[in-house]
């Protein structure tokens, strides 16, 4: 395994490269069209309205799988940029509750790390369209962290 990605992540974290540079290195993030906005210390992920993510053509509505994939990818990027993870964490499990229809428009997501353990991170993700207080989906996931960053607590 090379250190190219690790170096890129470090450059993004240091502010030498825009966060989007990391997203551009991940094929699936590009496939969905994910963007990331930094608001001070906060990271907001965006899934821009894109017809390739449509699930229900009649409504039209976003594909639940695309929204879930967006949330999972957001959590991975969040761990890399904000939590000092140098390697792409592996998803152990991912649980999604669909609360409202995902309309065919821009979708936003924010992540919160509930617990960062030695090997496992528990992350909660919330996605919304109109206002943050009305999420369309909420998710929680466990990620396996690399040995390299195993934190000593």
């Amino acid at each position: 395994m090379t250190d190219a990605l690790k170096i890129l992540i470090q450059q993004c974290r240091n502010g030498d490269l825009p966060y989007q540079a990391l997203i551009e290195r991940v094929p699936y993030a590009n496939f969905l069209g994910i963007e990331v906005i930094a608001q001070g210390e906060e990271l907001v992920f965006v899934l821009p309205k894109n017809e390739t993510n449509v699930g229900n053509p009649t409504l039209p509505a976003l594909h639940g799988g695309a929204v879930a994939g967006f949330m999972e990818q957001s959590a991975v990027i969040f761990l890399l940029l904000h939590m000092g993870e140098p390697r792409v964490p592996k998803t152990i499990d991912f649980t999604v509750d669909y609360l409202r229809a995902g309309h065919y428009k821009d979708t936003y997501a924010q992540c919160r790390v509930t617990r960062l353990g030695r090997r496992v991170a528990n992350v909660q993700i919330s996605a919304w369209q109109t206002r943050q207080s009305e999420p369309i989906t909420i998710a929680r996931a466990h990620f396996l962290l690399s040995e390299e960053t195993a934190r000593v607590e």
Binding site: V54, G65, G69, D97
Partner: protein
């Protein structure tokens, strides 16, 4: 309104439905088999859906989307010959192992309980070349919407 499709097989309905779902066509999902309450769906390997550029392993999100779609199809099979729109209520996926790099995955989804309002589904994902190797397992529930005209999607 006639919402039945007795003259169209379950497999054909599943294929027509998937063809109408843009995101699933982007994932190149292929319905291989459809039975009374279960389906088998194949998702080929694509460079575009790699989640880790260091290992080239498929993204968990793409596997999640495959499972979500397959679960909905399993529900459609159980509801057949009616056709309904069934949005996902919730779904949990456990990622057991990373699938073999360069090869696709197979999802088997089964509707194990159908009630008046809710579809209960379990799904397993296996490696393309080694179908005994479990990649992911999941469980989901879907809502039966019973919207008039839903069958237009597949007719």
């Amino acid at each position: 309104m006639n919402t039945q499709h007795t003259n169209i097989s379950r497999l054909e309905i599943c294929r027509r439905f998937v063809a109408s779902v843009r995101h699933s066509t982007e994932l190149k999902l292929d319905v291989l088999d459809a039975n009374e309450s279960s389906v088998k769906v194949f998702m080929p390997y694509q460079d575009a859906i790699v989640g880790n550029p260091e290992t080239q392993v498929l993204h968990g999100g793409a596997i999640f989307a495959l499972m979500d779609q397959s679960g909905g199809l399993a529900g459609a099979c159980a509801i057949y010959p009616e056709f309904e729109i069934t949005p996902t209520i919730d779904m949990r996926v456990d990622h057991i192992r990373a699938p073999e790099i360069g090869y696709g995955v197979l999802c088997q989804a089964e509707c194990y309980r159908l009630t008046q309002h809710v579809v209960f589904v379990r799904m397993n994902v296996f490696e393309e070349r080694n179908p005994k190797n479990l990649v992911a397992t999941g469980v989901a529930t879907y809502m039966r919407m019973k919207l008039p005209g839903a069958n237009k999607v597949v007719s």
